[in-house]
Amino acid sequence: MKRRDSLKYLIVGTIGGAAAVGSSSGCKTETGENSNIITDATKSKLYGRTPAEIEHDKKVNAESYLNAHELATVAILSDIILPKTETAGSATDAEVPEFIDFIVKDLPSYFQLPMRGGLMWLDSESNKRFNKEFVALEHEQRIEIVDDIAYPDPDNKKPEMAPGIKFFKTFRNLTVTGYYTTRIGFDDLGVTSNFANVWDGVPAEVLANHDVDYDPEWIAKCVDQSKRNDIAEWDGEGNLLT
């Protein structure tokens, strides 16, 4: 689902669905439409940080760890892992190198040494084979190395590749996570999350693809979304009347 469809659902989902409540500034409780509440929260660029977290981000952003050569290598390698397709952007289009640059500073004990050492291993291997650093190789030469490290080697048939295999696995993890947590990645994967809606079960055409179904007895207990805005009332036995 694309962004514009999400927005359509957001509007549908909020009609009469919620009420504004008394604020911290001491306003009286008010009822009615809340058309601006959801969008207000998404306007803030701070992703809800506490003062200490704002300081943490400033500190991390002010640091530098990977140098220009390392970042150039990161960009090339990430685009080999997730290149541009007819319908989807590449890793660099999705700013994966920027994400990797940040995360190695944010989680240094996890990533700094493996990343720096792994990139250097890649240059060493490139020099050994072609007498050039990885960034200076032809595409086919890069692929020759990548093909040797992109798959596990459980029988240890090429022990000299083991450090490269380990590095590539970590690098691929960060590339995939960095890519699929962006709008480009969402669109490629078809992520349909994170918008206000009125969920009413798995669509019939989806159920038709699977060997499971809704049990009528179970569904009889579930919410009737046409009555979601009717205030709940019960009889003395706990049976819902509205």
């Binding site: 909020t14 929260a41 947590t181 499971v212 809704y214």
Partner: protein, 573 residues
């Protein structure tokens, strides 16, 4: 240091603004009593856009939600986790206890799982069944009217199932199961495990004119900006503070002790203002502690006086003892039938599971006492940090190639999106005298307050329960046509039993009972040793049950608060 004393004497000082403190604030202020609510963290309102994380996309965080700063990730709405800066705790050798604290208005209720299960008749009298632990001094019938009112006051969805030890209530209707939950239902039933709609305090239907209705973003752990889930901040405290003028809210105020007079009765509290780091005193005719089971025990133990030389309320030496957390163990699974699923529809649902398995067996036929329930997770949720790690590894289960890049990698990501799910068992541990928190003899926190030291060990009761969980998970997974992921935890690994504290259901530190020699409070959560001090968190729980503790914290807090109001009317306080 000169301690600054506020001249005003409150009817009640409430310490802590979580589930129990919030309920007490509501009931006591609405009864017309003057209330000082003292919270160790800052102000928080779930709908304040400057602190809101709800509806944020992962790319709004430069770390895509990773847990660098918050243990459950950037978007989880808890300020504080297993560690709080400047507020350490220690452990005796051989103890691995983890203690979660949320320093903010509303406490842990801003991010909790909203699982709202009543304790059943057996849960209050379990010693009668198996001879272990201690019976509560109250029964289900004593607390049932409060559960009933709580359901209507706060809202909980669920279904009437007529199960003896999982009593029904006044439920809002539950949401329909998601796709992976339909697989779970099928597998659980085949394995002989009961499964019913879950019971969560999320408004699937309008409850009153002050709160919104769920819009199915699946983000209750971020706390809801239309107040459609229960957080103590949004549902109890903010309305009470903005309401009748009965509540003075003290935030960033860390209570050090309860102060007492020559008769041994409480006179108020002493607290550190975190902003100026000075000590202040508040005067109150009664004190209600709702700081959390362990924090309230800490305050009591630190409140030593001539009248209470072993700490306030601790003539029994039971404060801090009988600490117990729920047991926990889990397993994840890959469901090949869910590969290459259609993704072009939303399936976020509410913030939590739509189905669960309440305890379904009789322990007489088992080698461990007490039960557990099973929580279910999975589905094609919104990617965040960690998404796609080792995604191609699942190929080994279907004869595909592990590893790779480019087109193959993109296909793997799509193929496996939403094809994994998992189960988590949450069970009842036996409360034991030796499992405790106590005051560390040497260490203080940054406010000079002596910290807690934990001493806690699981027994074979809990270990065998975890083994049963693991066996059950595998049976359900196979019944779903799934493949269990990772290796099954072994005996040497305690069958995957998580460390105590990790389930964040710690209870029992100020347990209730009729005998002042073996309990801290009476059945109204009133200290045996000081009649104007009450406890409204999970400290008074005599035992935990195979349920989550929040609904019972609130039902008990309502009952205790109304008892306090009656005591005021009778001029007993």
């Amino acid at each position: 240091m000169q301690i600054k004393e506020n001249a005003k004497e409150y009817d009640v000082i409430i310490v802590g603004s979580g589930a129990g403190g919030g309920m007490a604030t509501k009931i006591l202020s609405e009864a017309g009593l003057s209330v000082a609510l003292v919270e160790a963290g800052p102000y928080f309102d779930p709908k304040d856009p400057t602190t809101a994380t709800q509806m944020k996309f992962p790319w709004e965080s430069p770390r895509r939600g990773a847990s660098t700063n918050r243990a459950f990730g950037d978007f989880d709405q808890s300020w504080g986790d297993w560690e709080v800066d400047g507020e350490p705790y220690t452990k005796k050798e051989g103890t691995n206890f983890l203690w979660w604290r949320s320093r903010m208005l509303g406490g842990r209720t801003n991010h909790w799982g909203r699982i709202s299960l009543r304790f059943g008749p057996t849960d209050f009298k379990h010693k009668d069944v198996d001879g272990l632990g201690e019976n509560w001094p109250i029964s289900y019938d004593d607390i049932k009217p409060y559960y009933d009112r709580l359901d209507k006051m706060v809202g909980v969805f669920g279904s009437k199932e007529k199960r003896y030890n999982d009593p029904d209530g006044y439920f809002l209707p539950p949401p329909k199961p998601r796709l992976h939950e339909l697989y779970y239902i099928k597998g659980a039933r085949k394995a002989g495990v009961d499964v019913i709609p879950s019971r969560l305090s999320i408004l699937t239907k309008k409850l009153n004119k002050d709160r919104g209705v769920c819009y199915y973003c699946a983000q209750c752990n971020r706390s809801c900006n239309v107040y459609a889930d229960f957080s103590s901040s949004s549902v109890f405290i903010i309305p009470a503070v903005n309401g009748g003028g009965q509540v003075d809210l003290y935030v960033n105020s860390m209570v050090r002790t309860v102060t007492t007079n020559d008769e041994g009765k409480a006179t108020g509290v002493s607290y550190i203002n975190k902003e100026d780091r000075k000590e202040y005193k508040l005067k109150g005719r009664s004190v209600v502690l709702g700081a959390s089971a362990c924090s309230s025990a800490r305050i009591l133990l630190n409140s030593k006086s001539k009248q209470h030389p072993n700490g306030l309320g601790n003539s029994s030496d039971v404060v801090g003892r009988y600490l117990h957390d729920s047991t926990g163990a889990g397993r994840s699974a890959f469901i090949p039938a869910m590969m290459n699923r259609k993704t072009d529809y939303n399936e976020d649902g509410v913030g939590g599971m739509h189905v669960y398995s309440p305890w379904w067996l009789d322990n007489k036929k088992l080698n461990f006492p007490r039960g557990y329930h099973i929580e279910v997770w999975g589905g094609k949720g919104m990617p965040a940090y960690g998404f796609g790690f080792d995604v191609s590894g699942l190929n080994k289960y279907i004869g595909g190639d592990v590893g790779g890049y480019g087109t193959k990698l993109r296909e793997d990501v799509k193929k496996f999106y939403g094809a994994t799910m998992g189960m988590a068992g949450r069970g009842e541990a036996i409360a034991r005298y030796d499992n405790r928190c106590e005051i560390d003899p040497e260490m203080v926190d940054q406010f000079g307050i002596p910290v807690l030291r934990f001493d806690y060990k699981w027994s074979d009761y809990e270990r065998y329960q975890a083994k049963h969980m693991q066996d059950t998970f595998e049976e359900i997974i196979h019944s779903m046509g799934g493949i269990p992921l990772g290796d099954k935890p072994t005996k040497e690994q305690d069958w995957g039993l998580l460390a105590p504290g990790q389930i964040i259901h710690e209870v029992g530190t100020t347990r209730m009972g009729n005998d002042p020699k073996t309990s801290v409070t009476n059945k109204y959560c009133q200290l045996h040793d000081a009649s104007n001090v009450f406890i409204v968190d999970a400290g008074p729980f005599t035992s935990q049950a195979d349920k989550n503790c929040t609904w019972t914290i609130m039902a008990l807090a309502m009952r205790t608060s109304e008892y306090i109001v009656e005591e005021y009317k009778k001029q007993n306080i």
